[in-house]
């Protein structure tokens, strides 16, 4: 009960933040009820998915201070578990998704133990290495379709199928991911005030001091990594039933890992709203730029050039992301 109260308690934010958050929440809730292009709906679903990916990343990357660039492997585990379960044994989403999360967490413990002996850039590069190794393995593993990938055929099922999460209209998918989004947000709100959250903050501040206070640093990091993994895996499972076509190159590539980290970073790693802001800026930016300037116009890559520039500017001048800018301005106002 205490935990749920904590999760719903946003009182440490100023009133205007809460008002704005409520407004955005209302907007997101009502969004699909407006007449929209499929494009807009797809973009919003992407936004919600990446907010969740970012929130997960934020636990270890933001609060934990260990930049993880290998999240794509868990997207893959989640996506493939759900797909294989559905295709081979007709196991519905709500069962296969937790299974996927468990497999992901299991894998995260296996590699997490050695991984967290490293720090800083070495850690980051090692996360890239493990993600790519898993991707390479999936590319030759016939059980999961190797490089050909796996496809879910929606017309084999009676739509709308809430059990297996197969729908024809995007609106259903929207509300499911929105539900996850809300739960994720509440979890993160609880997390940052939980014991583990505080432990992480002191580790991030000064690891030696944290250790001297009796905190089991290694174990705290591994636990946090597992949480991040679970977030990513759940969204990965969703991705599989939404996109209905997965292959290693597409689902487990380094690009996805980078995007996840980038969005959380841009918005403000280590803050509650950061990942959401980051996704909220970058996803529409990417989608609309591609649409307006895309290949047909011969200007491929402009969206990513802007991404790169934004990242560079943020990391050089305000490493705490957009939310960091907001907080800075606020602090200045108060003084």
């Amino acid at each position: 009960m205490e935990a749920i109260k904590n999760a719903l308690d946003f009182s440490d934010f100023p009133k205007i933040d809460r008002m704005l958050a409520l407004a955005v929440f209302a907007f997101l809730f009502a969004f699909p009820l407006f007449p929209l292009s499929a494009f807009a709906m797809a973009t919003m679903i992407q936004f919600l998915m990446f907010s969740l990916y970012g929130m997960g990343w934020n636990t270890i990357g933001g609060y934990g201070g260990q930049v993880d660039l290998g999240k794509a492997q868990y997207v893959g585990i989640g996506a493939y578990t759900t797909t294989v379960c559905l295709l081979r044994w007709d196991i519905p989403f709500w069962v296969s998704m937790p299974i996927g999360a468990c497999l992901s967490i299991g894998w995260s413990f296996i590699i997490g133990y050695p991984l967290f002996k490293l720090k800083g850039h070495y850690f980051a590069i090692a996360t890239i290495a493990t993600s790519l190794v898993l991707k390479d393995l999936f590319e030759v593993w016939k059980f999961v379709g190797a490089a050909r990938g796996l496809g879910i055929l929606p017309f084999k099922y009676q739509v709308p199928d809430f059990w297996r999460l197969i729908f024809k209209e995007d609106i259903y998918y929207y509300y499911v991911i929105f539900g996850f989004f809300v739960i994720g947000l509440l979890y993160m709100n609880w997390f940052r005030k939980s014991r583990l959250g505080f432990q992480l903050r002191s580790i991030k501040d000064n690891e030696e001091v944290a250790r001297s206070l009796g905190i089991n640093v290694h174990w705290a990091k591994i636990k946090t990594y597992a949480i991040a993994t679970a977030f990513v895996s759940v969204v990965g499972s969703f991705h599989a039933v939404y996109v209905k076509n997965i292959e290693p190159e597409d689902t487990m590539s380094l690009d996805i890992s980078i995007l996840i980290a980038l969005m959380a970073m841009l918005g403000g790693a280590g803050s509650l709203w950061g990942p959401i802001i980051g996704a909220g800026v970058l996803i529409p930016l990417k989608s609309y730029l591609k649409e307006w300037l895309g290949a047909a116009a011969g200007l491929v890559g402009i969206d990513l050039i802007l991404y790169g520039l934004i990242i560079m500017i943020i990391s050089a001048f305000e490493p705490r992301g957009l939310w960091g800018i907001v907080e800075k301005i606020r602090r200045r106002k108060r003084i």
Binding site: V24, A42, R148, G149, V243, K244, G280, A295, R330, K333
Partner: protein, 436 residues
């Protein structure tokens, strides 16, 4: 002001609000077909050809051109719909199946297309066909050859091009003919001299399917497939793969490669002084103009499955006329890619003409009923007629493949000569494959 300090959150709101921009409305007398091709990425040069082929067909369909002996050239637009003209909406899927499916969905829901065509990469076509089937939008596949695509029994999918089972069988019939002395200009080669095969195919839907077919037919025809390598088409280095191929000392090397990897493969083979007796490519990268223009003499002697070679113009007047127009437009002769996208759109015109309406059910009925005679096609097929029963529903049963060999003509130009089917061979085959 406090409000400005939250501009980050406001920005989010603004961005999200702009998502409410609606697409433009549909005009009545316009027939819209969404076309998905790889306009960028490793197969971009094929994408360009595909686009040009489709655009040329569009020009002929929308304008009367009485000197071309094709039904679609006779009228401006679709006569049965009051002369309604066709518009093509091109989208670039970059070779990415998820993007392809996404674009197909947008074409259907936002652009409200009446039909689809595409997509070259079998992996992309697979994903797009699922979308088409789900939304009940007709899709004509002009250029993807993985057999899987017509094995699903889809009701909204038709394929004009023959698929890889036909083509791979052609290869083995050719090899068999080689051992029986049926190949023009080559005395019978004893089977033991051409017994061992090795293949290197790109690893997505298309190449993986070809790899399996080679192993299956190899066994059926009594050849020994010593090695089957799958590789990434986007790889920048293929030396390990080539080394692995050479290590098993095969008599024949068989490939399924897209553009950039086909070129890289040949260069690497040359670098490592590979010496097979026979080298064959399953079309795609081995057939684009880039292949010869980049590699020059290195290509001489290599075989490729093909669906069109310029020499066909000598025997088919339609092909000659269209090829001339194509050459005037792009500077290149028609190739397998452009000939097939041209033919794909031609099939669309016939289907629309027969349907007489834009209702999906009418289009579907028409597609299952059309019959286009072979002499109206630029490709050397007997015609176009889609199967409605059996295990290959939607497949054109009158298609045919050729095997061509790159040879240097008297004028120094490197061109494809037909070596299979044997009775239409245009030149003696060069055997064995000339040393690099």
């Amino acid at each position: 002001m406090k409000i400005s300090s939250n501009c980050a959150q406001l920005l989010v709101g603004i961005f999200l609000l702009t998502a409410l921009v609606l697409p433009s409305a549909v005009t009545a007398e316009e027939i819209k077909i969404g076309v998905l091709f790889p306009l960028t990425g490793g197969a971009a040069s094929a994408g360009r050809e595909l686009r040009s082929g489709a655009e040329l067909a569009l020009e002929i369909a929308n304008n009367p051109m009485p000197d071309i002996n094709m039904a679609m050239a006779r009228n401006a637009g679709i006569k049965s719909m009051g002369g309604a003209k066709i518009t093509l909406i091109f989208k670039d899927h970059e070779g990415n199946p998820t993007l392809g499916a996404d674009l197909a969905k947008k074409l259907i829901l936002d652009d409200k297309v009446h039909g689809l065509m595409g997509a070259y990469h079998s992996a992309v076509t697979k994903a797009v066909s699922v979308v088409a089937e789900q939304y009940g939008v007709p899709l004509i596949n002009d250029s993807s050859t993985s057999p899987e695509l017509t094995k699903q029994g889809y009701k909204w999918f038709w394929r004009t091009t023959p698929h890889d089972i036909y083509f791979t069988k052609d290869l083995f019939e050719f090899l068999k003919g080689l051992t029986e002395g049926k190949v023009k200009g080559v005395p019978a080669v004893p089977k033991k001299d051409i017994m061992s095969l090795a293949s290197a195919c790109e690893k997505t839907e298309w190449g993986a399917a070809v790899s399996e077919l080679i192993e299956k037919f190899g066994k059926d025809y009594g050849f020994e497939v010593k090695k089957s390598i799958l590789y990434a088409a986007k790889a920048t280095d293929l030396s390990s793969e080539v080394r692995s191929l050479i290590a098993v000392k095969p008599d024949a090397m068989l490939f399924a490669s897209y553009t950039s990897d086909a070129i890289l493969m040949m260069k690497t083979l040359k670098d490592q002084k590979a010496a097979p007796k026979l080298l064959w490519g399953q079309n795609a990268g081995f057939e684009v103009p880039e292949f010869v223009s980049t590699l020059g003499d290195t290509t001489v002697g290599s075989l490729t499955r093909t669906v069109f070679i310029p020499k066909i113009a000598l025997v088919k007047p339609v092909a000659a006329k269209v090829n001339a127009m194509y050459k005037a437009k792009t500077g290149n002769d028609l190739s397998g890619a452009s000939a097939r996208s041209f033919t794909g759109l031609q099939a669309w015109v016939h289907v629309l003409e027969k349907a007489g309406s834009l209702k999906p059910a009418d289009i579907q009925k028409a597609a299952n009923a059309i019959e286009i005679p072979g002499d109206e096609l630029v490709v050397p097929w007997q015609g176009i007629k889609f199967a409605t029963t059996g295990d290959d529903i939607g497949q054109n049963t009158l298609g045919m493949g050729l095997i061509g060999q790159y040879q240097k003509g008297a004028d120094g130009k490197i061109d494809l000569e037909i070596v299979y089917p044997f009775n239409v061979a245009t030149a003696n085959m060069i055997y064995p494959f000339p040393k690099f």
